[in-house]
Symmetry: C2
Subunit: 372 residues, 2 copies
């Protein structure tokens, strides 16, 4: 087995697929293997549900759901593909009820119905696959937010060599998640750590620290307006998270060494932070971003010359079939109208992780370049 | 909201329960809230499944499954309890198909059918709840195992103050998982980091580094005998994991500063490591452990006086309704017969995490005591 198929994340899936575990033989025969990815890039999905009348497969690689067929033992199955190398998401629909694959531990947890994930590897490893390169470390912190009066989770990626090159300081990327996500999602689903490892190994990215905070505001504040919730998040990030990171990590300070990017809700947070505080964040990226309303946007873009002088990068990415595409076109039109320098990165795709993993990989080479 | 309800782990659940996420109001009304833990410690479980004929709740707090009832909109629900403070596990059984709660992101992933988890808090916070005390950090590594020729995941807990007290060195506990688990399970399900934070804050545990490796052996070796798989794991731990930990962390070396404990399969691994290498591990714990066969055990216990001289702790814990209880009684009888000093910790309970969280909490005060 090649190394690149294994990671903290993929190990779980691989372990499952290959049935490595030390179980009694009788149990092993009865366990259902799903999903099974063949060398030909076809995937077989299986579900044991003897009493079900109808089982469908829904997935982000299917335009319409596919029926599974049942054998005499009540094991439902369907084989699809071959598929291009990618991390796909899917659910089963059992007599109308959408569920994650109950035997696949690689689950994308979500507020309503969690989805299962499956990685189809490429002939050459893709940018989100674990490769035999030096690996950074992901740190899980619990920090006390004074501004929100609550203890919150925080994920931090340090690049390979961080533990041993103890005099070196690093630039920092603040990477923000979407409304259905948590501080875990950029690593568990987005594979940010794997993407960084690979980009750094190929000299496509500066070695950097990536800070992935938790972006939601505690209950009680749920009735706040969107703008006030964003302001509470910005205060937590600037007054609690950034000082915590300074205390715990060897970072380079100043806007030329600090970037903020986010997706969807996190994109709007990044826009507010970067446009509102160019003295803190010199590099700004918004992926499939929610866009502040016209009045707030006018405020944020009120000083175009100052923004042009201070921001080293303003990068707007959106898929053409994203439900936020029109909002992003309005944002881009405003930037054009005000002569604010930016990069418009309009691509194929909808509002989903296949797009966001690529955006992260594509923005990394642009960050922290000294001769911009 | 009190701090102690929030952690990297509990945040996900809490966020979900409280419906914090920024969703459109129309969507929010339609989302199903499950599980909902009341102030009275009753829990309501809900599932939207209009086409289902029969939905049951199975859980480790129920002796038999409980039916849910359906309302006119196809929303099934049942309220149970009040329950004692604990982290419980449950599934829904929908027309015979066992599934995790599709809207609860707190999932215990598992080889066959994943289970959902729900925390019922106590009036006073229990030892596994996040409390307003200093928090350590969990580090996620990917390391290359030379002995297994594969890249594997590794979780490492460092105690509060590790990042700032940069001259201090710490003892190390190697904490091994069971056969259905991965390197994540001791933190995500077992809450080892939370238990350590609380025990250290109460001066019930020495500040220590906890190393949680991945305990399975890659495929291809699946046909090896159990003893050979254990030997391959021991080689990986001693020749790859331990040097990696020495390079990356400020540890204290030597058996008086090194402990190994594990549960089930990991208990057998710990017994083989600790009894086989008392020159490396001075403190040994086996939780609900699988027990090596008679011949191998004879080898491991061949030099009682040497073990008594070298081991500072040999701690055997098992629940009386555990399917491995008889095997552990045989092990204890052998230790008695050979006059090998040990602690027999026989408790209520079966083969499950409610027991193992407690065992970890109970063994911590015994580790690394200098005047043993």
């Amino acid at each position: 087995m090649s190394n690149r198929q294994l990671s903290g994340h993929a190990i779980v899936l691989t372990m499952f697929i290959l049935g490595i575990c030390a179980v009694a033989p009788a149990q092993r025969q009865r366990s259902v293997v799903s999903p099974e990815v063949g060398a030909d890039r076809k995937i077989t999905f299986r579900l044991r549900a003897p009493e079900a009348q109808k089982v469908l497969l829904t997935a982000n690689f299917l335009s319409e759901s596919q029926p599974l067929t049942k054998d005499a033992e009540g094991l439902w199955a369907v084989t699809v593909g071959p598929l291009a190398p990618e991390i796909y998401e899917y659910n089963f629909v059992v007599d109308g009820l959408s569920i994650p694959d109950p035997v696949n531990p690689d689950v994308k947890v979500w507020r309503r119905v969690s989805r299962s994930m499956v990685l189809v590897p490429g002939d050459e490893p893709t940018f989100f696959e674990v490769q035999p390169v030096p690996h950074g470390t992901v740190h899980i912190h619990a920090y006390h937010s004074q501004s929100l009066d609550v203890t919150r989770g925080l994920y931090v990626y340090t690049p390979p060599g961080y533990e041993t090159e103890t005099l070196r300081r690093y630039p920092v990327l603040y990477l923000l998640h979407g409304s259905g996500d948590t501080e875990r999602t950029w690593t568990v689903v987005g594979r940010a750590n794997v993407i960084l490892d690979n980009a750094i190994a190929q000299h496509q990215a500066e070695p950097m620290i990536v800070v992935m905070p938790y972006g939601h505001i505690p209950t009680g504040d749920a009735d706040r307006s969107r703008a006030r919730r964003h302001a509470a998040f910005a205060t937590d990030l600037i007054e609690d998270v950034m000082p915590y990171v300074r205390r715990h990590y060897r970072i380079r300070s100043g806007p030329e060494h600090t970037a903020v990017t986010g997706l969807s809700m996190g994109g709007a947070q990044a826009l507010r932070l970067g446009l509102g505080h160019p003295e803190l964040f010199g590099w700004l990226g918004a992926f499939s971003s929610a866009v502040p309303g016209a009045e707030e946007l006018d405020d944020l873009l009120a000083e175009p010359e100052s923004l042009n002088a201070q921001l080293k990068l303003l990068w707007i990415g959106c898929g053409k079939r994203d439900f936020l595409f029109e909002a992003n076109q309005r944002l881009l039109a405003e930037l054009e109208a005000k002569d604010i320098e930016h990069v418009a990165h309009l691509t194929e795709g909808t509002h989903e992780w296949r797009v966001w993993r690529r955006y992260l990989n594509e923005i990394l080479p642009l960050l922290f370049k000294t001769n911009h």
